[in-house]
């Protein structure tokens, strides 16, 4: 076990835990934001640099601070380590820089982007970005391409998190897409415009933190905050069959995997569940999915509404003076 302090809060975690995991165990108030890390994908993380934190004390044994900010998703805790995240000005400054870099070539086409409302880059910019832009150069653009009948790749929006490549590598049996070219000319591509066709390809949509990979069957159907998420499951011979159905009225507009509080998919689902089962009768309904109050998707969803309690005379008497 290792004792680690993050923004002044102490926690004991098993050896081998990363700073990010430890911070998440404490809770969202200290957890650094992430864009490329994904808990279900091995070797993910380290690229985007949004989760940089400051290590002000390396460990009990070697208390020297670490000279540079470290990527919390790829750095293991040491016993006695002291980390600052939200409390570190250096971290906040670097993070604002990262947001600016990520937005430098991003089209900011949120009003026409299907990801809007559940976009990690939107959240990140809102919390850590500047209100103004300091660049007047033309942005990098790419043609939209269809990679298969159900997925559209809009590379212009991509932040090169590598998650979709890792999904293809780790949960499908034949990766046909990857990162080609180099530097800021890098792009997600099949290079030869091949369709990505396998039973789990749809998970690339779920892991994409931005609107670079979107569900073509849901394209322009609705803003996500006008749809109602409902947990449901079915017996599936390919995957767990545990999904979220996104309803508008009585229609299921799309099916996605279930995401945890960090926006990361809990269990990957197959394309049959995702694309071919869009009738309520295909599913056993579990109930309305809880959406964090913080999310725009929670707008107009009253499931957890707490009605003000009417006070009785006894309550009033019990009030402290």
């Amino acid at each position: 076990m290792a004792k680690v302090t993050i923004d002044g809060i102490e926690i004991d975690v098993p050896d081998g835990t990363t700073i990010l995991q430890a911070a998440r165990m404490i809770g969202p108030e200290v957890a650094p934001p992430t864009m490329c890390y994904h808990s279900k994908l091995k070797t993910s993380g380290g690229y985007c640099r949004t989760c940089l934190v400051e290590v002000t004390k390396g460990s009990e044994k070697d208390p020297r601070p670490m000279p540079k900010l470290v990527a919390s998703c790829r750095t293991n805790v040491m016993d006695g380590m002291v980390v600052t995240n939200g409390l570190s000005e250096k971290v906040q400054d670097a993070r604002a820089g990262v947001v600016e870099f990520l937005l430098l070539n991003h089209p900011l086409d949120c009003p026409i982007c299907d990801q809007a409302g559940e976009c990690h880059l939107q959240d990140l910019s809102y919390e850590h970005g500047h209100y103004n832009t300091r660049t007047d150069f033309e942005r990098r653009t790419f043609e939209k391409i269809d990679i298969g009948d159900t997925i559209q790749l809009h590379m212009t929006r991509c932040i090169l998190c590598y998650r979709c490549v890792k999904v293809a590598e780790q949960i499908t049996d034949g990766r046909v897409h990857g990162v080609i070219n180099r530097g800021d000319a890098s792009e997600i591509s099949t290079y030869i415009k091949e369709a990505i066709d396998n039973d789990f390809s749809g998970n690339m949509i779920d892991v994409c933190p931005v609107g670079a990979l979107t569900d073509k069957t849901f394209r322009f159907k609705s803003r996500v905050w006008f749809t109602k998420p409902v947990d449901a499951h079915r017996d599936c011979d390919k995957c767990s069959g545990k999904v979220v159905l996104w309803y508008k009225g009585d229609d299921v507009l799309r099916v996605t995997g279930r995401k945890d509080q960090w926006g990361e998919v809990e269990e990957f689902i197959c394309n049959t569940c995702r694309f071919d089962k869009k009738k309520t009768s295909d599913w056993t309904i579990e109930g309305v999915r809880e959406i964090s109050r913080h999310s725009v998707i929670s707008a107009n969803k009253y499931k957890k509404l707490v009605k003000p309690k009417r006070l009785t005379i006894n309550d009033i008497k019990a009030l402290p003076e």
């Binding site: 990766r175 046909v176 990857g178 080609i180 070219n181 180099r182 290079y191 030869i192 415009k193």
Partner: protein, 181 residues
């Protein structure tokens, strides 16, 4: 274009490739990708077409995308046809200080093309490239395997003349570059 379209290299080339693969431990044959791509590029048309890359993937028993990813990362692999004589002029600091831009401009004027272009007859391509590690003999350019250093306009003219009638494309490697095992 598809992942299955492929070509065959000559028997000699394939034998050389097999020999290169033995330089790496059992099961680590992917290591041979860079040298194999160099050989493939030199032994075909001086650039890497999809069928050529697919064949390399086949030889190494890896996925074609693994080859495309790598080939597109490194600047010496050409993914589009280049002229018979590819002139690569260094443009970084020391070469710039010693007049590389004048050399580039001179070549542009002589060939009637700009940086990155190929002459209509397909004889010459011109590229400016980053530091070639020849700063003490700046300005310099590379044609195929050969470095041409301490350039003057006269030297450049002679080089252009010399390469005007070449029939084979400039190449970085040939079958005698590597020691065969």
């Amino acid at each position: 274009m598809s992942e299955t379209e492929t070509i065959k290299f000559s028997a000699e080339t394939e034998a050389l490739m097999k020999s290169i693969i033995t330089r790496y431990p059992e099961g680590k044959h992917k290591s041979a990708l860079l040298p194999l791509l160099h050989i493939a590029q030199a032994d075909t048309d001086g650039w890497l077409s999809v069928p050529v890359m697919n064949r390399v993937a086949e030889i190494l028993n890896i996925k074609p995308i693994e080859v495309y990813e790598v080939a597109s990362f490194y600047s010496m692999f050409h993914l589009e046809p280049v002229g018979n004589c590819l002139i690569e002029v260094c443009r970084t600091s020391s070469c710039w200080l010693r007049g590389a831009y004048d050399i580039v401009q001179h070549i542009e004027n002589r060939l009637g093309i700009k940086d990155g272009e190929t002459t209509p007859d397909g004889k010459f391509s011109l590229r400016t490239v980053e530091c070639l590690g020849s700063c003490g003999t700046a300005p310099m350019l590379q044609i195929g395997e050969t470095y041409h250093e301490n350039l003057t306009k006269e030297k450049v003219d002679a080089l252009l003349e010399e390469n005007k009638s070449r029939t084979t494309h400039s190449r970085y490697v040939d079958h005698t570059t590597f020691r065969t095992l």
